[in-house]
């Protein structure tokens, strides 16, 4: 089965997010880029499905020209084809993003991908909606929050956790599924995979940017992030002081 996976290029943030002076974006001059963690798992899931049943994995992203790097990262993990919906670097909202993705899938042959996978939500904007909007545009059922997926013939069975319970869904293909990290443990890229990815040709299309009805005004870090921890001591010698503090906080009485 041919599977399409949508991924998004996001800054690789470590211990601290630095904003640009105008408060409009994350300052990425000192950071690398990656795809959102859920999406890396979506690609792994697609690769595993095609390893079992045959077919190909196409990864698609909407982003600046440099987002081709993230497509190549995913090709190195075993995906076969990359499609870049190239932008001029402006941020796209979820409505326009979903419309551009759905149009591109139509161009690629809407019936050629029985299964479309997305990450459940992007690490940066966290809109929780692009996959669902794509599904509606293509007239497909969509499941989200998925931690386990089985493809059996023309059916997809999918499970997620909800409020301490497992919820099971069964939908007919073609379908869209938003998956979460934990569905699998993504592999590391192999050397042959990296070499193949480096040479792979990436299909580029240029959708037209459209303003979204939800417009970012500014970003800021949360207040109160400049505190310093009170150091109780060093090594095992700090244990009595640690126990005193835990006791003062009322945390040594078992609930």
């Amino acid at each position: 089965m041919d599977v399409l996976v949508c991924v998004k290029r996001v800054p690789m943030v470590g211990g601290k997010i630095v904003l640009t002076a105008d408060g409009q974006d994350v300052d990425t001059r000192m950071s690398g880029f990656t795809v959102s963690p859920h999406e890396e798992c979506a690609v792994e899931e697609a690769v595993q499905i095609t390893e079992r049943t045959g077919g190909t994995v196409t990864v698609l992203t909407l982003g600046p020209p440099e987002a081709a790097d993230q497509l190549r990262d995913m090709l190195a993990l075993g995906a076969h084809r990359g499609v870049l919906l190239e932008t001029d670097g402006r941020e796209w909202g979820p409505v326009a993003t979903a419309a551009a993705i759905a149009a591109a899938i139509g161009d690629l042959g809407a019936t050629s991908f029985p299964l479309i996978l997305t990450g459940n939500e992007a690490a940066d904007t966290g809109g929780y909606q692009v996959g669902i909007r794509v599904a509606h545009a293509l007239g497909r059922p969509c499941v989200t929050g998925i931690k386990r997926l089985e493809v059996a013939g023309d059916l997809v069975r999918a499970w997620r956790e909800y409020d301490g319970r497992h919820e099971e869904f069964e939908v007919a293909l073609p379908a869209v599924a938003g998956v979460k990290e934990g569905i699998n443990l993504p592999r590391y890229p192999s050397l042959p995979g990296r070499l193949r990815a480096k040479r792979a040709e990436i299909t580029v299309r240029k959708p037209v940017w459209q303003a979204d009805d939800l417009r970012k005004v500014t970003l800021r870090g949360p207040a109160g992030s400049a505190q310093r921890a009170q150091v109780l001591g060093h090594g095992a010698e700090a244990v009595p002081e640690l126990i005193r503090v835990l006791g003062d906080l009322g945390l040594l009485t078992r609930a």
Partner: protein
């Protein structure tokens, strides 16, 4: 356009779900503002939408809603709606919003709330502002929202233009959300008012097509037992500094002594040292314990997004400059593999003396 606001209310065995209490607080404030914004007379209309059959759990929840500013309750049921069905739920909200010419529809940013609102956005062609902390009306069809980005590590101020505002409300909004808030800080309460008895509860049966019922939860069973990470009072965190899969035994022992559970950072699950269900973070579980004892955890953004609601964070780390040091309240500088066994031994010794 009226000033009516709809709020999807989820419930569990304890009554109204905590996330929905937060959503109700935002919805209530929006209803009051949109009335003022349109210079309309009367009182704010806040309609709670609850899914479930009359006489069931949902029905008893309906009685709890008056204390939250709710003026009317719709209890949604249909023969075909035997389990959770995201598109059908969105259809019901769409029809109720159209019938009341709602100014806004609000839900908690839970898996269900986020999913249903995204479907509602797709069905109506309207934008959805996800993970909001606060929202205010700035005009007849314009709104100002404050929402989470990066799992709550950043706050975004945004403008929303829509005839009907579709919002989800961050369910895990923690202490990090303090700061100037246009629409007032949102604090859920579980108080009930004596007016509850008089709240009108109306039954609503949505018009559904077969396409609306393609996705339905067909089975729902309890997942694994034990103290849930999400609700644990004490969480002992283990990160890269634990060193390998064998290093977690002493953390489990400490967790057991303190009546808590072990949680881990993303690097630990990515290495396969521990299962993903123990991950605390933006892509794992969001925790809100009394104590989070973070051992060998540097404090990456991804991780802190999952524990920013912890009441007290204590870090044990060899690096006194690690990012966790600016997020923790207390710290022990040192190797967790020395500190934690010593802590366990001291707690055991103290336990024997009692």
């Amino acid at each position: 356009m009226s000033s009516t606001v709809l709020c999807l209310v989820e419930h569990d065995a304890d009554g109204i779900a905590d996330g929905s209490l937060r959503a109700l607080a935002v919805a209530r404030s929006l209803a009051a503002q949109s009335l003022a914004e349109r210079s309309l007379a009367g009182s704010p209309e806040l309609i709670a939408v609850v899914f479930g059959s009359p006489g069931g759990l949902a029905d008893s929840v309906a009685g709890d809603l008056a204390g939250h500013g709710v003026t009317e309750v719709y209890l949604v049921s249909a023969d075909e709606l035997t389990g959770y069905a995201p598109v059908a739920w969105a259809r019901a909200l769409e029809q109720l919003a159209a019938a009341s010419a709602a100014a806004a529809v609000v839900a908690a940013a839970t898996d269900r709330g986020s999913e249903v609102m995204a479907h509602l956005g797709a069905l109506t062609g309207l934008p959805v502002a996800a993970n909001c902390l606060a929202a205010s009306a700035t005009g007849d069809a314009s709104w100002r929202v404050r929402r989470h980005r990066w799992g709550g590590s950043l706050l975004e101020e945004a403008e929303l233009t829509a005839p009907c505002a579709l919002l989800t409300v961050a369910a895990d909004a923690g202490p990090a959300d303090a700061g100037p808030v246009d629409a007032g800080p949102v604090e859920p309460t579980r108080t009930k008012s004596p007016a509850a008895a008089g709240l009108p509860v109306r039954a609503f049966t949505p018009a559904l097509e077969s396409a609306d019922l393609l996705v339905r939860a067909t089975e729902s069973e309890q997942s694994g037992g034990g103290t849930s990470l999400a609700t644990a009072r004490v969480v002992i965190g283990g990160g890269r500094g634990v060193g390998g899969p064998d290093g977690f035994a002493v953390l489990e022992e400490l967790a057991s002594l303190l009546g808590g559970v072990v949680g881990v950072s993303r690097v630990v699950t990515s290495q396969g040292w521990r299962p993903h269900r123990q991950q605390v973070g933006q892509t794992g579980t969001k925790i809100s314990p009394e104590l989070y004892l973070a051992c060998g955890i540097s404090g990456a953004i991804q991780h802190m997004a999952g524990c920013q609601s912890a009441k007290h964070i204590v870090a044990v780390n060899t690096d006194s400059d690690a990012p966790i040091m600016s997020r923790a309240e207390y710290a022990v500088i040192g190797d967790l593999n020395e500190v934690i066994p010593a802590l366990v031994a001291a707690l055991r010794a103290a336990g024997r003396q009692e």
